[in-house]
Structures are given as C-alpha cells and as structure tokens.
C-alpha cells in the first residue's frame, strides 16, 4: 500500500487548522507560544485567542472528524456512497429531539443533551430504514427516504419554533450550525465522548472488512452479523448526536469527507475511516474559516453550517454528475398492494373526501367552543379560498409526485427533490433582504421566477446525461440543499423576519386569495386531465429507457416534458402558499397501495387523495390550536407522514409474515 497518499488528509487538516489560527489570532506567534506554554493572559486579545479562537478551531477539528467518521461508518455499513448523517435523516432527528426537549424541559435538555439527541437520531434513522427497507439502504432509495424524513421532521420542528417564537430565537443559529465558542467548556464536553465513539469505530474495522466481502461471506465464517451491525450504526448515530448537540446541524461534511478520502486513495476500511476523519476535520475547518471571514464583513454573522453547505453543495453536484449510476436502467418498483381498485376502496375514497369537506366547511371553533354550522357571509368568504386552495395544492402536488415518481422510477421521489420549493423560498427571502421589507410583500411572481431559474439550471446540468433519472434526483437534491443553506443564513439572524420565513416554509393557505385558489384548482384540473390523456407515456417512461424506446417513445423529450410539468406544478403551488411537498410523496404512494396500479388510475386517485389530505390538514391547522394556526403543509407532513409510516410498517410485517410462512 502506498504510504504517501493517505497522509494527504492529515497534512490537509493540519494546514487548514494552522491557517485558521493564523487568520483568527490577534496576537503574534511568539505571544501565542507564551500563552500556550502557560503565560498568564493580560489583554483581551490574549483571552480571545485562548478562549475563543483556539477552542473554535479545536471544535471544528473534532466535530469535523466525528462527522467524517460517522459518514464513513454509514457508507461502509450500507455500501451506499450517498449515505451520511444528513442524508439518512439522523441529523434532523437529533435536531427535532433537541427542539422538543428545549420546549418541554429546558433544564433536562441542557443536562442530558447527548442522550436526547441520540434518541432523536436513532428514531429518525429507524424511520429511514423502515421506509427504504434494509436492502434499500444500498441505493438511491435510502437518500430519498432520508429526504422525506428530513422534510417531515423539519416541518414539525419548524411548527414548534413558530408557536413559541421569541423563546426560540437562539435555535436559529443552532439550526444552521455554528462553531462559535466562548471558552473550552463545550469542546471539553464533546471531545471525550467523540473520542470514545471513534475508538469504538476502529474496533469494528474487522467487521467492516468482512462486510466488504458481502454479508453472506461474513456469515459463512460463522459471524453473527446483526449485533455488530447494530453496534456500528449506534456508533455512527452517537457521533452524529454528540455533534448536533454541541454545534447544531452541520450537513455535507459527513457526505463529502468519505468521498474526498477515497479520492485521496484510502481504500481499506481502516484507512478509509481515518482518512474520512481527517478530511472531515479539514473540510469543516475550511468552511469555518469562510464563515469567520464572511462574518467580519457582513452585518450579521454567518453560521458555519451555512458556509459548509455553501461550499459542500456545489462539490456534491460535481461529484454526483460524475457518478452516472448503473441503476438507471431499472424500472419503477411499485409498492405492494391489491392489483386493482376495489369498490370498497372507491367508496372509502368518496367518504374520505365528503368527511374532509364537511369538517372543513362546517366545523370550526368559536368563543363558545366547537360548533357545527354552515358558514355565512364573512366567515364563508375567508373559508372557501383556503379550502379550495388546499384542495388545488394537494391535487397539484400529488400529480407532480405521480409524474416524478414515474420519471425518476422511484416511489420515494417527491417534488421536493427537484429544488422547486427551495428555489421559490430563496427568491422570496433574497427579495425581502434586498428590499428590506417582509417576505409576504414579494409575492407569487418572484417565487415563480425563483423556481423557474432552478429548473433551468437543473435541466442544464443534467442535459449531458440525457436527464438520467438518478442524476436528476441527485442534482436536484444538491441544488435544493444549496439554496436551503442560503435561506438558513437569513433565518439565523433570528429577527421577526426569520419567523415570517419559517411560517412561509410551513406552507400555509392563510394568504391564498379567492383568485389564487381558483387558479390553483384550474391548474390542478387541467394538468390532471392532460396527464390522464397522456397516461401511456407515463406507463412507458416508468418501464425503462429500452422498453420505452422500443415502443417508439422519444424518451429524452418526453422525460423533459414530464420534468417540466412536475416542476411547474410544484412551483405554482409553492408560489401561492409555500412548500407543501410531503403530499407529493404520500398521495401517489398511498394510491398505489390502495390498488391504483395503472398510470391512469394512479393519476386520478392520487390527485383525489392529495386534495382530501390537504383539505383535512388545512382544517386541522385552523382549528387544532385555535385561535393560533398551524400551516397546512406542516400538518399534511405530520398526518401524511404518520399514515405513510403505518402503511409501510404494515406492509413490511405482512411480507415478513409471508416469508416466514414459506
């Protein structure tokens, strides 16, 4: 084995740390040496170096290493090069757990943060495994499931923060992830915990080596794999949890570090772990240097996590484009369910919509509690645009989801992965920042413009690969992540505007006007009709390029058209009421599981289900915590997400039951 190349990450980390110190230190080298060798600090500059600059650099190195290590463990465990604490949902799980704990029991949250954080990370990872399945962890499925879980958990955390607004100002910086330190306390707290977990990880090298030869080979040598695999996953989760509990959400490092490590020539499990740790340390320190530098020049400080994503996301886009997956010839693997729509199911769907409409129109809370009455006058004029808007948005997102899942050939794809919502949000936030007004003042055209630009960039980036499904998904995810990171910089300021942005991110029908609701509904209906007419294309495009081309389909052109349709629907909905992406994942999925397996049936029943789900969510959002309101998008994510998980778990247990019966 060559010695020199795996040394590169070590040298890199060292060089970056020294440079960080050189840029940050406000005393000269001789004084620094004195201070390090025990000289008493005299000026504030001395203290700044010893109590702020140095612990910050140390924190960057150890957290970067921990995230790199966690990423490498996840990747070696799943054999998936896209696995990382961020993409597998672990980070957002830890974050949500901390938000909930801070809300319910602040003292407990502060005293046992690593365990709260670990519980959250484990729960979220468990969810991703439940959705994607153990086998699914190896491929794109895991990342798509992770995105969905991130979306769900992020929505819940956002809603909680929104309800308690001024109390949670400090969570914004933490949500973006920042390495700022005012002493050695946090660093010394994290170091032994991360150190122990890292040592544990290196004890598992033998297992990782065996895994390389395939799980079957390992078991053939008489090794019970399950406890070991659980142990490795637990270590990776613990590394993630402690990192999140200490410095907040910092994405991308865990994903990028192992990739860079491999390109430095680290091949064997042990050297890959070590190199990933050093690469992670170097990457995070470098990102932190950018954050510190930018903070000097900008009015508000720039959180490290935002800088990491800013640098990490483009790198990710490049890496993704290079890796043209072999899975692209795969065809859509539909979730299981009955072969066709039964009468019973159709009746159920009808009743569901009727119930949703009845609740949404007639049931509300007033001063005297719950009441059931036909709304009159002004009340009706407030309610109908919200109900119609919710229905239109639900239908449009569901349709967008059906089209996208068939084009990407993966039932876990959601319109969110195309980055349309992120594009719209970014455009609104940027306009508000530049003009110094509220984000509501910018309005739908700006949001549409943002989505449009993102779609153009996406299509441009994937053109070289003939819009290969996998590439579209990965580039879309990376673009979205990049824009989300930019939005986080604006969010981190923690002013009243941050809460307005957060409210927008929830996806609320509150500001949908009558005209907008009608437009949205028309858009949904026309697009549904058009898609239904062209359902043969959807069937063919989902069955693989070769099959589709053999049947005379202009694959690339149809795929572009489908992508544009899915993206425009998502953009239209986002422009009117903010991101409501989860419906786009759940509705098509649920439709298939209920038996709508042909393209035409899936289109119609998914749109129907999506509309019903959104009407119901909007009603819950309006009434649940009256007179406060929760955004319909958030409720839809929670309700839809729970239903989705129940469906998947039931399906899995049923399948397992059948298998054990064989």
């Amino acid at each position: 084995m060559t010695w020199t190349r795996p040394i590169a990450p070590v040298a890199l980390a060292l060089a970056v740390a020294l440079m960080h110190l050189w840029l940050g230190a406000t005393v000269d080298a001789a004084r620094l040496f004195d201070l390090l060798t025990g000289a008493a600090p005299e000026t504030f500059d001395d203290i700044r170096v010893t109590q702020s600059v140095l612990p910050r650099i140390a924190m960057g190195l150890i957290v970067g290493a921990a995230l790199g290590l966690a990423g490498s463990l996840f990747q070696q465990l799943t054999g998936n090069r896209l696995a990382s604490p961020l993409t597998l949902g672990a980070s957002s799980g830890a974050w949500l757990a901390m938000v909930i704990a801070t809300f319910l029991a602040p003292a407990f949250a502060a005293s046992s943060r690593e365990w709260i954080s670990l519980a959250g990370a484990t729960g979220a990872f468990g969810l991703v495994v439940a959705i994607a399945g153990l086998r699914g962890l190896m491929g794109l499925k895991a990342v798509l499931a992770g995105m969905a879980v991130n979306l769900l958990l992020g929505a819940v955390a956002g809603a909680i923060v929104l309800m308690q607004s001024p109390y949670f100002g400090h969570l914004f910086v933490w949500g973006a992830g920042d390495l700022g330190q005012s002493g050695w306390g946090a660093t010394l707290w994290a170091a032994p915990r991360l150190g122990l977990a890292a040592a544990g990880a290196f004890c598992c090298v033998r297992i990782l080596t065996l895994l390389r030869s395939g799980a079957g080979g390992a078991e053939a040598r008489g090794l019970a794999l399950t406890p070991w695999l659980t142990m490795i996953a637990a270590l990776a989760l613990f590394l993630t949890a402690v990192s999140v509990a200490t410095v907040g959400m910092i994405g991308f490092i865990g994903l990028l570090a192992p990739t860079v490590a491999r390109s430095c020539g680290a091949r064997r499990p042990a050297s890959e772990l070590a190199a990933s740790a050093f690469c992670g340390a170097a990457l995070l320190s470098a990102a932190d240097m950018i954050a510190v530098g930018a903070s000097v020049t900008l009015r508000d400080m720039v959180p490290t996590g935002a800088a990491a994503a800013l640098a990490g996301a483009p790198a990710l886009v490049l890496l993704m484009r290079r890796r043209l997956g072999a899975a692209d010839h795969a065809q859509l693997d539909m979730p299981e369910g009955p072969a066709g729509l039964r009468l019973r199911t159709l009746t159920g769907l009808g009743l569901l919509m009727a119930a949703a409409l009845l609740l949404a129109i007639c049931v509300g809370q007033g001063d005297a509690g719950w009441r059931l009455a036909w709304p009159e006058g002004v009340t009706w004029s407030f309610r109908w645009p919200r109900i119609l808007g919710a229905a239109g948005a639900g239908g449009a997102m569901a349709l967008s989801g059906v089209v996208l899942q068939r084009v990407i050939r993966n039932p876990l794809a959601s319109p969110y992965i195309l980055g349309m919502s992120s594009g719209a949000t970014f455009a609104l936030v940027l306009t508000a920042l530049v003009s110094g007004t509220s984000i509501y003042a910018a309005g739908a055209p700006i949001a549409l413009l943002g989505s449009g630009i993102v779609l153009a960039i996406l299509l441009l980036l994937v053109r070289r690969h003939a819009n290969a499904p996998m590439i579209v998904a990965l580039v879309g995810i990376s673009l979205g992540a990049l824009l989300d990171a930019l939005v986080k910089i604006a969010l981190a300021a923690g002013t009243a505007d941050s809460f307005a942005i957060l409210g927008w991110l929830g996806g609320s029908t509150y500001r949908v006007s009558g005209n907008a609701a009608l437009t949205l509904m028309m858009l949904a209906l026309v697009a549904t009709a058009a898609t239904f007419v062209a359902r043969r294309w959807l069937t063919l495009i989902a069955s693989g390029d070769a099959v589709a081309a053999a049947r005379g389909l202009a694959v690339v052109r149809i795929r572009t058209a489908c992508l544009c349709l899915a993206a425009s629907l998502a953009a239209g909905v986002t422009a009117m009421m903010g991101p409501v992406a989860f419906v786009g994942l759940v509705a098509p999925h649920a439709a298939t599981m209920l038996g709508a397996r042909t393209a035409g049936a899936q289109v119609l029943s998914a749109v129907w289900l999506g509309a019903a789900l959104m009407i119901l969510s909007d009603w819950l959002g309006r009434t649940l915590i009256y007179p406060m309101q929760l955004p319909a998008g958030t409720i839809a994510a929670c309700v839809g997400g729970t239903y989705f998980i129940l469906l998947l778990v039931r399906q899995r247990t049923r399948r397992n039951g059948r298998m054990s019966g064989l």
């Binding site: 700044r48 602040p106 109390y167 009015r299 110094g436 509501y440 009243a496 007179p627 309101q629």
Partner: protein, 298 residues
C-alpha cells in the same frame, strides 16, 4: 335660507366623516370614534394601551406578557392568534369597529376590510426612521381614539422626563456618561447588538449616550454577532435586556468574564422591555437604561 344651508353643510360634513386620520394609503375617514379596536401587532398593542385604550383583541397574549410586559395587558382582551397569521374568523367574531395593522401586504388589508375598516401603517422598514414612524403612528392612533391632547401631553412629558434622566445620569457620572452598547443574549457564543434604526439606540441618544457598538441601519435595527465583538467596548458600559433564555450560559464562560466592560464592572441588565414596541417604549427603554447604568456610576 342661509340657516338651512348651514345646517345642510354641517350634516354633510358629519356624513363625510367626523374624523380623518392618515395611514400609509392616505386619509381614512371614520363617522364616529371607534370603540372596539383590534390590534394585530405588539407595538400597536403598546400604542393603544399607552393611550389608555383597551383593545378588544390583540395577538399572542401569553408571549406578550413575558416579552413585552409593559404596558400590562389587561384581562379580558381576546387573543387573536399569531402576529404573522392573525385569525380572521376570530377577529370577525369580535365585531370590531376598526382593525389596526402594520406592515401588512395589501392583500391582507383587503381581507381585513371585509370585517371592519382597517388602519394600516408602515412601522418597520430599512428605508425610514422606525422611531419617527412610531411617533407618527402614536399620534394617528391618538386622533383615531380622540386622545390627541393626551398624546401630545404624553410626548411633552416624555421629552421632559428624558431630559431629567439625562441630567441625572450626567450628574451621577460626573458630566460624561460612558459610551454604551445595548445587547440581547442569544446563546453561549453569540449576541444581538442594537444599532441604527432601533428603539434602544434611539433611547441611548435621547439620554445623551454614545452608542459604543454602532451597527448599520436595517429593518429591525439589530445585528447578530459573535461574543468577542463586545470586546470593542473598551471604556464603556454594556447593557443586556432580559429575558436571557439560553443566553445566560454565556455568563459562565471565560470569554465573557474577560470582556473589558465586564472586567471593569460596567455590565448591567434590565427588566424586559420590548425593543420593537410603540413610541412610549422609547421612554421605557430610557428608564430601564437609566436604572441599569446608575449603579455603575458608583
């Protein structure tokens, strides 16, 4: 004949509105003085309460009591929900005579107008002087509620008291009040610093105190910085507005203890005052700063 004309003129004048006030859209006319008032923001709640008017509805009352605290929100005021999304059906049920809003987009205003006449102001913007705007809003709300004389007297009294506070502080510090920075704690490593276009800094100016950490003007007049930015206050005082929430972790850190202002015993805290409040909150800030700084002069 002349008498009849005069009568007709008076009737017409009455019909055209006994009361005209100016909001961001221009003159708004009211036939009578509105009694049932709904306000959609905490600053507006402060403005009406300061004038001695109790609104029938105001947003997020529980949080108001923790964060704004003064003026006290009387019991019996109904909660109309979130400041970002006030509950329209709830407001309609309150049957208000007028709804007072600020910085609402035109679409929101149009919907509110289905419930009752709306008065809407531009309160917070990077393009204007927030404090001057809040004085204007205070006076408009005063004429809407027939309290113009009260309001003018209050403004005079405020100017007088500000002058007094300034004199007392000047005397306590032997003529030169140290330059001062006003902050809110965030977490263990970052703080918000008030700058141009904010009420706290306007209160400092009214007290004749130099802002020790000037920040460029922005919509909210506040900037988020790392704690070490506070080291720039070398010979001045540092005031933190409570509640601190997670920010009190900062007090335990070495970096904090070695800040020049903290080392020199020039750090003080104030009771909660809402820095995004109404015009009279300028006085509340000034009082709070006076009370906080006075012990530092010894």
């Amino acid at each position: 004949m002349i008498r009849m004309l005069a009568l007709a003129f008076v009737l017409l004048a009455n019909a055209a509105g006994a009361l005209t006030i100016e909001d961001r859209r221009g003159p708004q006319e009211f036939a009578s003085i509105p009694e049932r008032i709904v306000v959609l923001d905490w600053a507006l709640a402060e403005q009406v309460l300061d004038l001695g008017v109790v609104p029938v509805g105001a947003p997020e009352l529980d949080l108001y009591r923790d964060w704004v605290a003064q003026p006290e929100m009387p019991d019996g005021v109904e909660d109309v929900g979130l400041r970002t999304e006030p509950n329209l059906e709830r407001i309609a049920a309150l049957n208000p005579d007028v709804i007072i809003a600020s910085d609402a987009p035109p679409e929101d205003v149009a919907r509110l107008e289905r419930i009752a006449p709306v008065v809407v102001f531009d309160a917070w913007s990077a393009d204007h002087d927030n404090v001057a705007a809040s004085e204007g809003i205070f006076l408009e709300i005063a004429s809407l509620t027939d309290r113009t004389e009260t309001a003018e007297a209050m403004i005079d009294a405020m100017e007088g008291e500000l002058q007094e506070l300034r004199t007392w502080l000047g005397e306590a510090f032997g003529g030169s009040i140290p330059e001062t920075a006003v902050i809110r704690l965030n977490d263990g490593a970052s703080v918000w610093i008030y700058g141009a276009n904010s009420i706290p800094v306007a209160a400092l100016e009214a007290l004749g105190i130099e802002n020790a950490l000037p920040q460029p003007p922005s919509r909210w007049g506040v900037a988020q910085k790392q704690v070490d930015a506070l080291a720039a206050v070398e010979n001045g005082a540092l005031i933190a507005i409570r509640p601190h929430m997670a920010g009190d972790a900062l007090f335990e850190t070495p970096l904090w203890r070695f800040l020049p202002a903290v080392q020199q015993g020039m750090f003080a805290e104030t009771d909660p005052v809402w820095s995004y409040g109404g015009y009279m909150s300028l006085l509340r800030h000034a009082r709070a700063f006076h009370d906080a700084l006075l012990p530092l002069s010894e």
